[in-house]
């Protein structure tokens, strides 16, 4: 009886449709393939252009380029050493400030405030903050971290630059961490509560470990974004010209002048003369390799600690 019902006939009729008749699906599929090819092709062209433009430096004196500081004398004498160090130092400070605050905010929003009106307003604002142009964070950094908090940051230093970028990536870390925590199934929490675990035990032993790989991936990607920022750093006083550390030790360089790879690229690109353009392209390749390494770390973390539900 059931098999001869009208509904059953309709279903079997649909199942008998020839596969080739799905025109909409085929068009959509090829649109998607086209978009993917365009996106990756664009990246490949960009990469190829940078490598070709920077080839004179990359193939010739790459080691010199990587191990020497900026020089105004000639493009051939200028290197990106200080930019690599500065970028890593700034990223370190960014991580130290942004990760604990960002993850803690996310835990509060998801696990404690849950769906309260306050939490929804905060989350909405954080999502809006993620779309604010980076130069605005530069202005914020100049007023707050360089000037208002001068006793702590010592002015236009690595600390001030790192804190500015921390403010910049904080929304990204909060959002990815919120999504990661929301993705942890409630059944896990309920099971833990069911066997008598306290809220602290549920969070520290079950929810956080389960969400950690996604949180880490988001965090590392946010740091990669920070590595590529030039505009806010220039605004908060990264050196665009000559830079030397004098007899400062490692710790002192954190409260001293600095530069970063994107700032150096900006500087190389504005200097007149084709050979400076070669330096800019080569430095772009260097920062790309650095960011790829960081993203590679993110992929490794995700694969290594990913949880399947």
């Amino acid at each position: 009886m059931l098999l001869t019902s009208p509904a059953g006939i309709a279903t079997s009729h649909a199942l008998r449709r020839r596969p080739g008749a799905d025109v909409g699906g085929a068009v959509f599929k090829w649109l998607l393939i086209g978009a993917t090819v365009f996106a990756t092709g664009f990246l490949a062209v960009l990469l190829a252009v940078m490598i070709v433009d920077g080839w004179a430096v990359l193939s010739g004196n790459l080691w010199y380029f990587l191990t020497h500081g900026f020089s105004q004398r000639s493009a051939a004498e200028a290197g990106v050493w200080q930019g690599i160090i500065g970028s890593l130092q700034v990223a370190l400070v960014t991580g130290v400030f942004a990760v604990p605050i960002g993850v803690a905010t996310a835990i509060y929003l998801v696990e404690y405030a849950q769906n309260s009106r306050f939490a929804r307003i905060v989350e909405l604002n954080i999502r809006n903050l993620a779309g604010v142009p980076s130069i605005v964070y530069g202005l914020l950094g100049l007023v707050i971290f360089v000037k208002a908090l001068e006793d702590f940051s010592k002015g236009a230093t690595v600390i001030a630059g790192g804190m500015t970028l921390a403010a910049l990536v904080l929304p990204i870390i909060v959002i990815t961490s919120v999504e990661a925590l929301k993705a942890v199934p409630d059944s896990l929490r309920e099971a833990a509560y069911g066997v008598g675990a306290t809220k602290w035990e549920v969070l520290s032993r079950q929810v956080l470990p389960a969400a950690l790989s996604t949180i880490l991936t988001g965090t590392v990607l946010a740091l990669a974004r920070a590595l590529g920022e030039a505009a806010p750093l220039i605004l908060v006083g990264a050196a665009t010209g000559f830079l030397s550390f004098g007899d400062a030790n490692v710790l002192e360089t954190f409260t001293g002048p600095y530069t970063a790879l994107p700032v150096l690229i900006f500087n190389f690109a504005r200097l007149p003369g084709a050979d400076w353009g070669v330096n800019a392209a080569a430095a772009s390749v260097v920062i790309l390799v650095l960011v790829l390494a960081v993203n590679g770390l993110a992929i490794y973390l995700r694969n290594r600690f990913e949880k399947q539900w």
Partner: protein, 350 residues
């Protein structure tokens, strides 16, 4: 589960350690570079930061590089956000030296004064720009600012012949009409400081007037259809290769190529003046401006700052002005700068 809790964070700690280790690696490398250049037994330490004009930044970079080799213990940083930013940073304090491609404005001096900071004003160099044509071009000798705007301003877009500019030139009250001849323009690209300087000194006045009158675009002072090059040699070759061409480059470079290009006289409102080292140093030539360095008087006793400014005003230091493509001060101006510095004369003195 409990074991997994910390292990994923390990690579982050590793990254932190690498960053710290790299930071440490910088020191021996810096020291090695310095000792390699033969500096021996220098005990000077401290830190110097210079900000302000991006036009003056190349001179400061060259000076700083030579200075750092002689005094490896001094930490040095140079930035070039712009003249106005330099004066603002000075008013906020903590800047020992800031550069400016123009003299400090009254409002800026007032702000700095209000912050309780006294500054010492030094002229360090001259930014002079030559308007050039091919060496054999006898059709033209002198151009006024109005002429220049009618030939290279945004409103001149599309003019392929000098005669095309005649209507605009007459409207502006220029010295035309020009006789017919192909108008090929070669000049530095937008990224060049010379491009900005040329607009600020030669075109801005006429251009702003035209913008107010609703004739010109407020975003573009220079016509887009010219041959832009970052390489001064390309500009010289382009100008010398076209009999009726027009272009502009830094004076020092044009002066070295007088066999290929003709340096035109320019009328800035007080008659035609030929560009020579003397007329530029005396600021008689209209497309020239003084470049300044300002020192916070409170830092004048700082051994590192004192040694650097001494070096900047020394005969050796002044050679870097030419290396950076600018023109040396007249003897009188250099003497005035040295005297301001040695006597710690504060306030505007030029």
């Amino acid at each position: 589960m409990r074991k997994n809790w910390l292990t994923p964070a390990a690579p982050l700690f590793a990254l932190a350690l690498i960053a710290a280790a790299c930071g440490g690696g910088g020191e021996p490398s810096e020291a090695a570079t310095a000792s390699g250049s033969g500096a021996a037994g220098d005990q000077l330490s401290g830190s110097i930061s210079v900000t302000g004009s991006s036009t003056v930044e190349p001179i400061t970079n060259l000076l700083a590089e030579a200075f750092a080799e002689a005094h490896p213990g001094v930490a040095f940083s140079v930035a070039g956000p712009g003249s106005g930013d330099g004066h603002k940073a000075a008013a906020a304090g903590e800047v020992p030296i800031w550069n400016s491609s123009r003299q400090i404005k009254d409002s800026e001096a007032t702000d700095i004064d209000a912050a309780g900071i006294e500054f010492i004003e030094l002229r360090v160099a001259i930014d002079g720009i030559s308007v050039i044509t091919a060496a054999g071009n006898d059709a033209i000798d002198c151009l006024s600012f109005e002429d220049l705007y009618s030939l290279v301003g945004d409103e001149a877009t599309g003019f392929g012949d000098w005669a095309d500019a005649n209507a605009l030139n007459a409207e502006l009250g220029g010295t035309g009409p020009f006789s017919s001849g192909a108008l090929e323009i070669f000049a530095p690209g937008e990224e060049s400081g010379t491009f900005d300087s040329f607009i600020e000194i030669a075109l801005e006045h006429v251009w702003e007037h035209r913008v107010e009158g609703g004739h010109a675009d407020e975003n573009f002072a220079v016509r887009p259809d010219y041959n832009a090059s970052a390489n001064d040699n390309v500009i010289i070759d382009g100008v010398s290769g076209n009999q009726t061409s027009l272009g502009w480059v830094g004076f020092a470079f044009a002066d070295e190529n007088r066999d290929k290009v003709k340096l035109l006289e320019v009328d800035g409102g007080d008659g035609c003046v030929a560009p020579t080292a003397e007329t530029i140093a005396s600021a008689e030539f209209p497309i020239a401006r003084f470049l300044y360095a300002y020192i916070d008087a409170a830092y004048a006793s700082d051994p590192a700052v004192k040694a650097f400014v001494d070096f900047m005003l020394s005969d050796e230091g002044q050679t870097y002005v030419v290396d950076a493509g600018y023109v040396n001060l007249s003897a009188a101006d250099l003497e005035q700068s040295r005297s301001n510095w040695n006597n710690l004369t504060t306030g505007r003195t030029f």
